[in-house]
Symmetry: C2
Subunit: 333 residues, 2 copies
């Protein structure tokens, strides 16, 4: 029987349609995954091509060679030398606009062309998380920035054409409704129940166990009750904090492990699917908010949102999250 489920954190509805239930085999890519070389002389992110990107704003080096570089995005949709001032446009002055002010950086995660988080070792992933944190702290010093979004696009269906392993950081002068609404719902829940909705969610999930994928000392990776798509996975820190940059050294170790292991399970179970992941943190000027909680979400690109999803925001998910979690939990890595 199909059912509606409500995401308690956002109040969004999804339809879980198990009659169409799909197993990992149904999603495996038909085409053979390309085998990329370790080094590609035409890749702007490979060693020797450092002049094809702007200079690094952060790097991790070993024995005189770089292991990781963060560079401003050469093809950035936003630029740091513009004004964040709101302006009114059109005859009625009702339309609102801002020059495209913002920061856009690329985290070149390793010098090795053909790795991805799923195939890195823990210390390589640790470098990536450490870079996220350092850049987050640095960028949040800019008083005109309100929101910092860290994300990774893996594969063409996830919106990237560059093979070389990389993530992105985009900082904007606006907090969009999509994020505001989540924070508002978290505040309503906190006003109602006196507790953090994300803390409540992981407590609930840990007690029920059936949607848990990986648990470590400091993190829980699980398929959310109201997952919008097959194998959507949330990673939530057990320690309550609204902002990603509060992550401690121990938590960085732990987060590297849970992120690597979860992505490796997805990689092996679903044959290296395209995916996006996003780290959602509170607005930078609400750094001390008590009712919000940072998290990461991984979205494998296995299905196509159609007119119904676009028109209603209600996603039809053909794989119950209990099934997704079971497959990933059991996957040997």
């Amino acid at each position: 029987m199909p059912e509606f489920r409500q995401n308690i954190a956002t109040k969004e509805w999804v339809i879980i349609a198990p009659e169409r239930a799909k197993r990992p085999e149904d999603f495996k890519k038909k085409k053979v995954a390309k085998e990329f070389p370790e080094y590609d002389k035409n890749c702007p992110f490979c060693i020797g091509n450092e002049d094809k990107t702007p200079p690094s704003v952060y790097s991790i080096k070993k024995n005189g060679k770089w292991n990781l570089r963060v560079v401003p995005n050469k093809f950035a949709a936003l630029k740091s030398d513009l004004s964040p001032k709101r302006k009114r446009e059109g005859k009625s002055k009702r339309y609102l606009t801002i020059d495209g002010f913002g920061l856009a950086e690329v985290v070149i995660e390793t010098s090795v062309h053909n790795k991805t988080i799923a195939t890195m070792n823990y210390s390589e992933v640790r470098n990536v998380i450490k870079a996220y944190k350092q850049r987050y702290i640095e960028i949040s010093k800019n008083e005109d920035i309100r929101l910092i979004t860290i994300f990774r696009n893996h594969g063409a269906m996830a919106g990237t054409s560059l093979e070389h392993p990389h993530s992105q950081i985009i900082a904007t002068p606006v907090v969009p409704p999509h994020v505001r609404d989540q924070i508002f719902q978290a505040r309503v829940a906190c006003d109602t129940f006196g507790t953090c909705i994300y803390c409540d969610m992981i407590k609930q999930e840990l007690s029920e166990k059936k949607r848990i994928i990986v648990e470590t000392d400091h993190f829980v990776a699980f398929s959310p009750y109201a997952a919008r798509s097959p194998f959507e996975t949330r990673i939530i820190p057990k320690r309550h904090d609204c902002s990603f940059d509060a992550i401690t050294e121990k938590e960085i170790d732990n987060f590297s492990k849970v992120l690597r292991d979860t992505l490796r399970k997805i990689y092996l179970t679903l044959d290296n699917p395209d995916y996006n992941y996003i780290i959602r943190s509170s607005p930078t000027d609400e750094r001390n908010t008590k009712h919000y909680h940072w998290y990461a979400v991984i979205i494998p690109k296995l299905t196509t949102p159609a007119g119904f999803e676009i028109g209603t925001g209600i996603y039809i998910n053909v794989t119950p999250p209990e099934e997704s979690a079971r497959f990933l939990r059991q996957a040997k890595i």
Copy 2:
């Protein structure tokens, strides 16, 4: 220079990034569009295969043969014989669920296998709109239904694998946040300015002209100021009404024309791209709301939303809507 623009109806932000501006040629499909046959004996929607679908709930016939059929969706994600009652789930009873109650119908738009709205004549499109209206009226009599969404998925990237021309109607017992938020913003605007935000928008667009694609006696088709993606097109009726089923006979003629002509311009300019369109109408139990306004939106699938879009709801649009509108306005049909 890139710029942020806010959608006045939803308060969503987009980034218009003209430095990456793309012209229609950049989007044209590399692969040659498949030429489908007029009739396919294996297609469940072709003549002679009526037993492969549930019986029609509505049809338009001529000379004893059907031209259009509406049938319940055989593979519906929602079922009409379930209960719309909310239930609480999980140990904490915080998770909310509803059995998958709802209606899902397929509008088989013509018996001819290889047509699409862009290649139909006006009277064929008129049949489709008439069917939408009749089914909308019939479905809205169900007291447990709150929202009726009419949509069309064209092509694999838009989420359909069936070639035969068809649209869908899905009726749900819930009004999701995605729709509630729009209505809320329309109410705030109405409280503030005393007028309908959609009426204001088309007034503004008609006075500026630069984003207009097609104007008829009763409708305006335009690229919205804060379009989320290249060639996104909105069609808004000039007469203020919140509900699609209020469409008059004259307006049906007019809507058929503007929908056909706009889709034909997209078809010819962009080489038959995949697209979704959605008709958004007020919740059925808010049929007399004064501050909302029904509309249609066409979204050609030309770009891929990535981690930034998913994580923030801020879309990066590489074609300024003024450019999209100019290309479509000038397209000969």
